[in-house]
Symmetry: C2
Subunit: 460 residues, 2 copies
C-alpha cells in the first residue's frame, strides 16, 4: 500500500472557511471532512447556515464521521427534517451505528410514516447485508412501456433517485424483475421500441437482501455493474446497492481485515477518533487471549526442563525457531484467507491446498534449515561462539527442526481458514492469532522431540 503523498493529488477542494461564507462551490465531501475537525455544536451551526438541500448532502456523506452527535446538536425540528430528506440507507447506517436507543426513539417518534417504514425495513436486515446498505430510490418501469415513455419517466424522477443509469424492468403483473437496462442504451435506442428491446438477453444479476456486502462487491466488480438489484424470494425488487455504496463497504472491509489480521478487534472508526478506553478495550481482548494461549509454551518448556538443563545450548535457538514457524504459518494463512474471500478457492479445495502446502512447506523449511545450519557452522568455525563438542549434531538439530516446524506452520496456517470458515467464524479475525499460538506451542514440541531424537546419548 503506497501511502506516500501524491503530488497534485486532487484539484477539487478549495479552501473552506468554516464560518460558512465561502462554502459555495466546495464539494460536500470536503465540507464533511472539515466538519469532522470541529465540535458537533459548531458543525450543527454550520449546517443550519447552509441551504437545506446542501446540508442534507453533507449529512449523506459517509466521510462525515459523527453524524449522530451533529443531529443531536441540531434543533429537533430541523434534525427530523434533515433525516426525512436524507437517503434512507445512510439514515439506517447512522441509526444502527451512531445513535443510542433513546436518541433513535426521539427521532423516530417525529418521522413521517413513509420514512419510518422505510427505515424499519432497512434496520430489519443484518448489518453488512445487502438489505442494510441498499437504497430504495431506484428507477423501475413495467415491461410494456416504450423507450420514450421510460425516458420521460427518468426525466421526472431523476432528481429523487440515487442512480438512473440502471433502469429495472419488471413484469406489469406481480412485479417480478425481468431485466436491467442501461440508460446509455435507451439514449441511442429507437424511442418507439419497447423497453425490453434495449436490455440484454440474460436475466439480470441480483442478490437476496441477506447477501453479505462482500459478495455484492464481488458481483459488482465481476460484472462491471453500476448497481445490483436486491430482490425478495419472489424476485420482486426491494432496492438496489450502488457502486459507491460498495466502494465504501470495500474500504471498510479492508480496514477491518487489516486490523483483524493485526490481531485485534476491528476499530469501527478512524484511529484518531477512538477514545483511550475504547482503544484499550479493542486491543486488550485479543492480546490477553493470545497471552493465555501462549502460556502453553511455558508448560511445554516446563515439561522439557530436564533436557534444557542438560543442553542449555538448545534454548539459544528457541526464539529463532518459534518465529520461523509463526512466519510460515502467517504467510500460508493470509494467502488462503484472501483466496477464499476472492472465491479463487472453495471450501472443498482444502485437500488440494494441503497437498500443495506440504511440499511447499518442506521446501521452504529446507531452505531455512540450510541457513540455520550454516549459521551454527560459521559461528563455531570462526570462534564467535562455542556450541560444544557436539556442535555438528546441534546444527543438524536446528536444520531438522526448521524443516519440521516450517512444514507444520505452512500446513496448519493453510488449513485453519478452511476450518474456521466451515465452523462459521470469520477466518480473518481468528486465523492469525490462532495460527501463532498453535504453531508456537507445537513448534516447541517438534523442536524438543527432534532434539531428543538426534542428541540422545550425546547431549541428552
Amino acid at each position: 500500500m503506497n501511502a506516500a503523498v501524491t503530488p497534485f493529488a486532487s484539484r477539487a477542494p478549495g479552501g473552506l472557511d468554516l464560518a460558512g461564507t465561502t462554502l459555495h462551490g466546495v464539494h460536500v465531501a470536503d465540507i464533511a471532512e472539515r466538519l469532522n475537525a470541529v465540535e458537533p455544536a459548531e458543525a450543527a451551526a454550520i449546517l443550519l447556515a447552509m441551504p437545506a438541500g446542501r446540508a442534507v448532502d453533507v449529512l449523506d456523506q459517509p466521510e462525515l464521521v459523527a453524524p449522530g452527535a451533529i443531529l443531536k446538536a441540531l434543533p429537533l425540528e430541523r434534525a427530523v427534517a434533515f433525516i426525512q430528506a436524507m437517503s434512507s440507507d445512510r439514515v439506517a447506517e447512522i441509526f444502527r451505528n451512531d445513535l443510542s436507543e433513546p436518541d433513535r426513539h426521539r427521532f423516530v417518534a417525529r418521522l413521517d410514516g413513509e420514512t419510518r417504514a422505510a427505515l424499519a425495513a432497512l434496520l430489519a436486515w443484518p448489518e453488512h447485508s445487502a438489505g442494510a446498505i441498499m437504497t430504495t430510490e431506484f428507477v423501475s418501469v413495467p415491461a410494456d412501456w416504450t423507450i420514450a415513455r421510460t425516458l420521460d419517466h427518468v426525466r421526472t424522477v431523476e432528481r429523487s433517485r440515487e442512480t438512473v443509469y440502471a433502469i429495472y424492468v419488471v413484469e406489469p403483473e406481480g412485479g417480478r424483475l425481468v431485466q436491467a437496462v442501461a440508460l446509455r442504451r435507451l439514449i441511442s435506442g429507437d424511442p418507439a421500441a419497447p423497453i425490453v428491446s434495449a436490455g440484454g438477453v440474460r436475466p439480470p444479476v441480483s442478490v437476496a437482501p441477506g447477501t453479505d456486502r462482500e459478495e455484492v462487491a464481488r458481483l459488482i466488480a465481476k460484472y462491471n455493474l453500476l448497481a445490483v438489484p436486491v430482490v425478495d424470494a419472489r424476485e420482486r425488487m426491494l432496492g438496489i446497492v450502488t457502486v459507491d455504496d460498495v466502494i465504501d463497504a470495500m474500504i471498510d472491509e479492508t480496514t477491518e481485515d487489516v486490523q483483524k489480521l493485526g490481531g485485534m478487534e476491528a476499530l469501527g472508526a478512524p484511529y484518531p477518533r477512538i477514545g483511550f478506553l475504547e482503544m484499550i478495550r479493542k486491543r486488550a481482548g485479543w492480546l490477553s487471549v493470545l497471552l493465555i494461549g501462549e502460556m502453553l509454551t511455558a508448560s511445554v518448556m516446563q515439561h522439557y526442563e530436564g533436557e534444557l538443563e542438560k543442553a542449555l545450548v538448545l534454548t539459544l535457538f528457541i526464539p529463532l525457531i518459534m518465529s520461523s514457524g509463526g512466519n510460515s504459518g502467517s504467510q500460508a494463512t493470509s494467502l488462503i484467507i484472501r483466496s477464499l474471500a476472492l472465491r479463487e478457492l472453495g471450501l472443498g479445495d482444502w485437500w488440494r491446498v494441503a497437498l500443495r502446502e506440504l511440499p511447499t512447506g518442506m521446501t521452504l523449511g529446507a531452505i531455512l534449515g540450510a541457513i540455520g545450519m550454516v549459521r551454527v557452522v560459521v559461528w563455531q568455525k570462526t570462534g564467535l561462539y562455542d556450541y560444544g563438542e557436539h556442535w555438528g549434531l546441534v546444527a543438524v538439530t536446528i536444520g531438522a527442526a526448521l524443516i519440521g516446524i516450517v512444514t507444520f506452520g505452512s500446513l496448519a496456517g493453510s488449513m485453519l481458514p478452511f476450518i474456521l470458515t466451515r465452523l462459521g467464524f470469520d477466518p480473518a479475525s481468528a486465523s492469525a492469532p490462532f495460527v501463532a499460538t498453535l504453531v508456537d506451542v507445537s513448534g516447541l514440541v517438534i523442536y524438543f522431540s527432534i532434539a531428543a531424537l538426534i542428541l540422545r546419548g550425546t547431549l541428552l
Copy 2:
C-alpha cells in the same frame, strides 16, 4: 472477511457448455472464468467459435487470468484483430504483465498506427499509476456546444466508449478541461441550453497520469464518481479511469496488502494458478530475511548465557514474553498502516501517535503483566510447578517485563510505518516483518535487563 458461501448468491450465470453451443446468453465474465479452467489452445478455439465482438469482450474481462497465453495460441491475424478491438487499457495491462518481450514485438509489428501509439502512451506510465490504468475511450465536447448537440454526439459514439455517463467539457481552444457533466443532468436539461449550464460550479476532480491508483480510488470513493479524468500539466485530457477499473485495482491492492502483511511478496496471481517454484520464490525471500534477522535473538541469548545458567526458570517464559511483544507491535502497525493509507493520519502526525501509543502500550502491558503474574502465583500456590524460593520475584520480573515489552512493541509498531513511508518504502510490505524482528530482539534485551535488576542478589 466473511467468505462463507451465501445462498442465492448470483442468479446470473447459466450453465456453460465449453463446446460453445450454449454460450449465447452467458455473461462474458462467466465465460472468462470458465476459460480459466481449460488449456490456452482450447480457450483460443472457443473464442474463435464465438462472434468476434463477444470474443473481444471476453478478452477484455480482468477475470480472464492468462490472456497472453490465449492470444499466443490464436492465429496471428486473429490475435491482432482482437487486440485492436480490445480496450486499450486492458491491452496495456496484458502487454505489461502477461506477455514476454518477443511476443509483444510480434504483435506490435502488426498493429495499426493508432492502436500502437495509444498502447505506447499507456505503457509509458509506471505500473499502478492512473496513466497505466486509464482508458482513452471517453466522451468530450467543446464548451460552446448545446445540450442537444452533446446528446446527439453521445448517441453516435455510445457503442465505442467505455462510459458515457460522465461527459467532459473542454475549452474549444487549447482543450483545457473545464467541467464534468453527468449524463443524467443532460437528459432532464433544456436541449437548447449550453452544455456548461448542466455542470456544477466546481472545477472537476482530476488526477495527473502519475497518480497512484490507490489515490484515484480514494478520490472516486470520496466524491462518488463514476470516472475520474486524467489530465496533463496543462489540464488537457489524456483519458479517464472508470469506477470498474478502480474496483479491480482496489481488490488487487487489498490482496497485495494482505499478502504483504502476512510477510511475503505479493503473489500477483490467484493462489491456485501460481507454479510451485514461483510460490517458493515469493515466500522464501522474506522468510529467509526474517530468519537472518531473528538470528540476532540467538546472539542476545548467548550474551545472557550466564544468567540463563543461573536462572533456568527465566527461559520458561521467553516464548510467552516474546510473542506478547510481537502481538502488540503487529496491532499497532496494522492500525497505523491503514490509517495512513486512508489519510486519517498524515506523516506529520507521528508525534501525536507516539504520545497516544505510549500510555496505550503501558496500559495494555499492565493488563498482560497482571495476567502473567497471576499465572506464576497460581501455578506456584496450586503446586503445578515450583518456581523456587524466589517465585515472588520471578512473578514480578514477568509482570514488569511484559509492561516494558508491550509498551516498546506498541511504540515501535506505530512508529515504523511512519519511518518506512518517510523513507519511500511501502509500509505494508516492510512493517510487519521489521516489527516482529525488532520487537523480538529488543524484547529479549528488555526481559533480561529487568530480570538482572529485580533478581540481582537472589537468583542472579
